[in-house]
């Protein structure tokens, strides 16, 4: 693979040059300049993360890319690159390397702000500039990063679509889609326009595809101050589920020119308490008209609502069955979007608290929260006793379990008494059905031979 990548890269470039050369005489210079503007700020990131996905507390290494945005060493990358990181090392194209710490991160927009740890008075670093403008379809762009861990790689393509709505990939982001070669390891790296500005951060690909998706810089610029100051993006939460006036794919049309449809409200949310009903059409927010004609119009609106201050009433103009009415709702803090997680090695599973934003299906069956098995240790005790991923643990030996902390205390107790007791009865909820299993943890499945 390495061999192929090295060989193919010049060929692709040559091809692109041959096609584009006739229309842009100085194309080579333009690309080169753009590259030079950002390339010194490109960061190759190696991360050691806490890995609970194997059902036990392990460490794993991942790698990604980043870009320095301030001369004192701030850099941005993806949240998923540094998620659960215990150690972050960064290498610059000149070969210098530093450790880094996380200043702030947000799972919803998949962005993390890091700072390189350098001695006081260290010389300023080359910083790339973010451009909040919306890139045009067809614009030539460069992707920089470390595909497959190959640091300092540059590839080129165009903006294939500049307003891609991706269902289930963060409701605040309207993505750029590009055909520039982007592979695992490119995550967190910059997408650069021919002016040498960072127009976005590469984050996602399609499986078996040649298209990749980039978070536009506008979304990042908007979030940066809060990430820097509070460490989180701090979204407001109304609990409104919105859908646009038209859904071409499903041939759904609401025959209205303006507004956005309330498809439902989340249980216990401010919106539900305020009396929003499914099929309400929101036409204005604090007096300003809002419209989402298609899915592509929703992320901007979601961002706008998410940016409104907590606990301050917002006036919604609503049309219900042709009648106008006003609903006032004060959003609350969205808070955590993922629950606490901990591995219980002797039991052979990782447990995680149910968070409605993280695992909505499980929160349906456990509306008051709870703990579920997020990973099973292969051939561990839970595995051998028929426990499964996504089983909701309701109680152990009759004692209810609601938090990982409670479970952790039970685990410590169980380990203390392991000589006398090595079995427990666990009430679980699996796909909405109650089941009772017995966990036999007599065997130390991870014991290493002397």
């Amino acid at each position: 693979m390495t061999y192929d990548m090295r060989r193919l890269a010049p060929a692709v470039l040559a091809c692109a040059l041959a096609v584009c050369g006739c229309t842009t005489p100085d194309f080579r210079g333009t690309v080169s300049e753009a590259k030079d503007a950002v390339f010194p700020s490109l960061v190759y990131i190696r991360v050691v993360i806490k890995d609970l996905e194997g059902g036990k507390d392990e460490k794993a290494q991942v790698s990604g890319s980043g870009v320095i945005i301030s001369s004192d060493g701030e850099l941005i990358t993806n949240h998923h690159v540094v998620d659960k990181a215990t150690d972050i090392r960064c290498q610059l194209p000149d070969g210098s390397s530093y450790t880094a710490k996380v200043l702030g991160q947000d799972k919803d927009i998949d962005i993390a702000l890091l700072k390189l740890e350098r001695p006081d008075g260290a010389p300023p670093l080359p910083a790339a500039k973010l451009s909040g403008r919306r890139a045009e379809i067809g614009e030539v762009v460069l992707a920089m990063g470390a595909p497959w861990g190959l640091a300092r790689s540059v590839s080129m393509g165009i903006i294939s679509c500049n307003d891609r709505y991706l269902e289930g990939a963060g409701k605040y982001t309207l993505w750029y889609q590009t055909d520039a070669a982007i592979s695992p390891g490119n995550s967190g790296g910059p997408l650069v326009d021919t002016d040498g500005m960072v127009i976005g951060i590469n984050a996602r690909g399609v499986s078996y595809g040649d298209q990749a998706f980039t978070i536009p810089s506008a979304v990042i610029i908007e979030a940066l101050p809060r990430l820097r100051e509070k460490g989180v993006a701090d979204w407001s939460w109304f609990g409104l589920d919105l859908q646009p006036l038209n859904d071409f794919q499903h041939n759904i049309s609401f025959k209205a020119e303006e507004g956005v449809i309330v498809s439902g409200t989340e249980p216990g949310s401010p919106a539900r308490k305020a009396g929003f009903m499914p099929n309400d059409r929101i036409v204005s927010v604090d007096g300003a008209k809002v419209t989402a004609k298609n899915w592509e119009d929703l992320p901007a609106l979601e961002r706008r609502l998410g940016r409104l201050p907590f606990n301050k009433p917002v006036a919604f103009g609503v049309n219900r069955d042709g009648k106008d009415l006003a609903i006032s709702v004060a959003p609350t803090e969205k808070g955590k979007v993922e629950g606490e997680e901990k591995a219980f090695e002797r039991w052979g599973f990782t447990a995680k608290e149910i968070n409605r934003f993280d695992v909505p299906e499980l929160s349906f069956f456990a509306p008051d929260g709870g703990v579920f098995i997020s990973a099973i240790l292969w051939d561990g005790n839970a595995d051998n006793c028929d426990f499964r991923r996504n089983d909701i643990i309701q109680s152990i030996d009759g004692k209810p379990v609601k938090t990982v902390e409670q479970l952790s205390a039970m685990y410590d107790e169980a380990m203390k008494n392991i000589e006398t007791k090595s079995k427990m009865t666990v009430d679980i909820l699996r796909r909405g059905r109650k089941t009772q299993l017995v966990l036999n943890y007599l065997e130390d499945t991870e014991k290493e031979l002397p």
Binding site: D241, Q243, D247, Q249, H250, N251, I252, S253, F254, K255, I261, S263, G264, T265, E266, P267, P278, N279, D321, R356, P360, E361, S363, F364, P367, C385, D386, K423, T425, R431, G432, R433, K434, T435, Q436, L437, V438, N440
Partner: protein, 736 residues
């Protein structure tokens, strides 16, 4: 002459082989060296080859076009033991069956009786030294299983066998000749004194050799001909054939016909019908359709035993058992009960009297020792559209075998198939054995195995009236009205049973169901069953037998809520066949209760707080559930919705009054499917109005051109709009 030399060469080769084999097997018994054995074999071939002939039976169809109902035995030249073949094998290949015959005189040849009736015999001929002589059967030896054929002309050059006097030899050996594919192979073999055995079960001594062989003594003198592999050491049998008792061969056909007539007296031709199956039951009556012609056996009191292994579900669908008299008069028989442990059921003529000409079956009371080495009959009975076809076959009963529960069953080859039944009959015309399926009480998953059931047990089965209350016919309404006690359960794992210390209450580790929900106002709630209790058994009040409430059916459902938008690629049958997210109300223990029927008085046993409890309950009717809930189908949008029944509401955490209907079926490519609606999603509102039932839903969409549905999929909600030219008023099909 050329042929003979070839056969002798082959004989020598075979001798060498067997000599070696015998050496290793019977070293202790045989003082002979291999070379000496080979010499002996050569001597025997030279001495007895001139006394053996080939007898050819050519078969034909009888006047009714029936193929011969005969199984013949032949000695396999490869393994040396006897194999069986149906006579049809020879008929279909247009080759004769070749048997070995021993010359007793220049015209009379002794051979194993094929028990074939004259109507199926085209010709018999004897071949010796390449010359063929037409022959016919003249005498039978019923006890020895032999037949004597006589040629029209004396056989030239034949040397009739001479038998030594002096009784049973100490170390018998047997000499045999096998013909196969035109080759003749002969050899000598024997276990010496070890050939004599004793039947502990029947108290008989016998010689255990090989069928169709010549038994010789130490001096190579012929002692007797063994026509069966086991020969009783009686006064007659282990002696020269001249001492055997014979009967004229001409009586054979009459004897068979007489037996067939005797059997006909207690066989009742019946027509049985099962109601059409419910959609999910794949099994049918004896592997055929929903109606069948069957046979029963008359019992006292106008009762008839039908040896058909119906499952409880099939019995529930049994709607008619009818007898047609020779004069065409039809009589409907009433159901009496299903035999508890065997796959058979009993019906009764309405007036308690058997029709004229039919008498109750006599069950054989003869002891094994009275029957073994004697003549018995294997009788196959077919019911072709009400017309009985009974075929008897004679055979010498060679042994008894261990059957169910250690009982002894006669080793008769019984064949059974659709609309037919095969029984063993003793010489006195009483029923000796029948093959019945043993109902599995231990596991509901494994299939029933068949065992030959013989006389005494048969009599018990037929008369004891120990019936299984689960196996009874029901009306269609009853079949669709499921019974319950009002609980939802899950399987108790064996590990959990041990942990809960309840194994002592369980018959098997897998028995027992843990109660996960008790519905208020139900028998279970009334009896004080609570969540976490373990159900053990249910026993009909009038029965001694408790039925284990073990797992059956739908507990490992793997419904997944995450599927893609493009799943139109699956056929719509996939959607109707897959299991529901919620537990199927008709599966599990409710299926067991339903077989006992609504209103049945039962005693339920369960474990609560490690104490075994019992309480009488009256089985109640399950509330309307997903499978039989009212549905409303709309063809224009291609969607069927269904009332949200109790178990669906429990699963989705919907209150009793919360509005909503559940989508039960969608048609690919129709507007509802295009709009992204999916099976098991819930529609709560139509055009802004809550819908509480399929009926309301049907009314709400009637005549509307714009439809707006509020749809729920677990936590996610959305609004779906469908525009139509017009939605016609579809009649909502109501499920039975």
């Amino acid at each position: 002459m050329k042929r003979l030399s070839l056969s002798l060469a082959a004989a020598v080769a075979a001798c060498a082989l067997f000599a070696e084999e015998s050496e290793s097997a019977q070293a202790a018994d045989s003082a002979e060296s291999p070379a000496a054995r080979l010499e002996r074999c050569k001597r025997l071939v030279a001495r007895y080859q001139p006394s053996t002939v080939c007898v050819r039976y050519e078969f034909k169809l009888d006047d009714e076009g029936e193929p011969p109902d005969v199984t013949v035995r032949y000695k396999c030249p490869n393994c040396g033991s006897d194999h069986e073949r149906h006579a049809e094998h020879y008929l279909s290949r247009n080759t004769p069956f070749e048997a070995l015959g021993y010359a007793l005189s220049p015209r009379r040849i002794l051979l194993q009786d094929l028990m074939v009736q004259p109507k199926w015999v085209k010709s018999i001929e004897v071949e010796f030294n390449g010359v063929k002589y037409p022959a016919k059967e003249v005498l039978r030896y019923p006890k020895e299983g032999g037949v004597l054929v006589e040629t029209e002309k004396p056989i030239e050059g034949i040397r009739p066998l001479e038998f030594a006097e002096g009784g049973v030899p100490e170390k018998p050996a047997y000499f045999y000749v096998v013909r196969e594919n035109g080759l003749t192979v002969s050899g000598v073999k024997g276990s010496g004194a070890a050939s004599f055995k004793h039947y502990a079960e029947t108290g008989r001594d016998f010689y255990d050799g090989a069928a169709n062989t010549l038994v010789v003594n130490e001096k190579d003198e012929a002692v007797t001909v063994a026509l069966q592999s086991k020969v009783e050491l009686g006064k007659e049998q282990f002696a020269p054939p001249s001492k055997w008792t014979s009967v004229p061969a001409s009586a054979f056909a009459d004897e068979i016909a007489a037996m067939e007539r005797r059997v006909a007296e207690f066989v009742v031709p019946l027509y049985a019908r099962l109601e059409s199956e419910s959609k999910d039951s794949g099994r049918s009556y004896r592997g055929g359709g929903d109606e069948t012609y069957d046979v029963g056996f008359a019992l006292d009191g106008g009762e008839v035993l039908i040896p058909a292994n119906l499952s409880a579900e099939q019995t529930a669908r049994l709607s008619l058992v009818e007898y047609t008299a020779p004069d065409g008069k039809k009589t409907k028989l009433e159901f009496v009960g299903s035999v508890d442990e065997w796959g058979a059921f009993i019906v009764r003529f309405p007036d308690g009297r058997l029709p004229d000409g039919i008498r109750p079956t006599a069950f054989c009371t003869m002891r094994p020792e009275e029957l073994v080495f004697g003549k018995v009959f294997s009788v196959s009975i077919k019911n072709n559209s009400g017309k009985l076809k009974i075929r008897a076959r004679e055979q010498v009963l060679q042994k008894f075998e261990q059957s169910w529960g250690g009982s002894l069953a006669p080793a008769i080859s019984l064949a059974s198939g659709r609309s037919s039944c095969s029984i063993g009959v003793a010489p006195d015309g009483s029923m000796l054995a029948i093959e019945l399926a043993r109902r599995q009480s231990t596991s509901r998953w494994s299939s029933d195995s068949e065992f030959a059931v013989c006389g005494p047990e048969l009599a018990r089965v037929a008369t004891s009236h120990t019936f299984n209350p689960e196996y009874v016919p029901r009306t269609e309404t009853d079949r669709n009205r499921m019974a319950w006690i009002g609980v939802e359960v899950m399987r108790l794992t064996s590990e959990a049973a041990r942990e809960k210390k309840v194994t002592e209450f369980l018959r098997h580790d897998s028995d027992g169901m843990v109660v996960t929900k008790v519905y208020p106002g139900t028998p279970a709630a009334g009896a004080g069953i609570k969540e976490g209790d373990i159900l053990l058994t249910v026993r009909p009040e009038k029965s001694q037998k408790a039925i284990g409430l073990s797992s059956e059916g739908d507990y490992g459902s793997s419904y997944s809520w995450s599927f893609d938008d493009d799943d139109d690629s699956y056929s719509s049958r996939y959607y109707s066949s897959r299991s529901t997210p919620w537990p199927n109300a008709e599966g599990g223990i409710n299926a067991i209760f339903s077989r006992l029927g609504i209103g049945s008085k039962v005693v339920v046993a369960w474990v609560s707080d490690r104490v075994r409890r019992e309480a009488p309950m009256t089985l109640a009717q399950i509330p309307v559930h997903y499978n039989n809930a009212r549905r409303s189908r709309n063809r224009d949008i291609g969607m069927t919705v269904c009332d949200m029944t109790y178990e669906v509401r429990t699963f989705f955490r919907f209150g009793d009054d919360a509005p909503g209907v559940v989508i039960s079926k969608l048609k690919h490519g129709d507007p509802a499917a295009v709009a992204g609606l999916r099976q098991y999603e819930i529609i709560t509102d139509v055009n802004g109005k809550p819908v509480k039932s399929a009926k309301e839903f049907g009314a709400a969409i009637k005549g509307q051109k714009e439809l707006t549905f509020s749809v729920r999929r677990l936590t996610a909600t959305r609004i779906v709009r469908i525009s139509l030219a017009s939605v016609k008023d579809d009649k909502a099909p109501e499920k039975k």
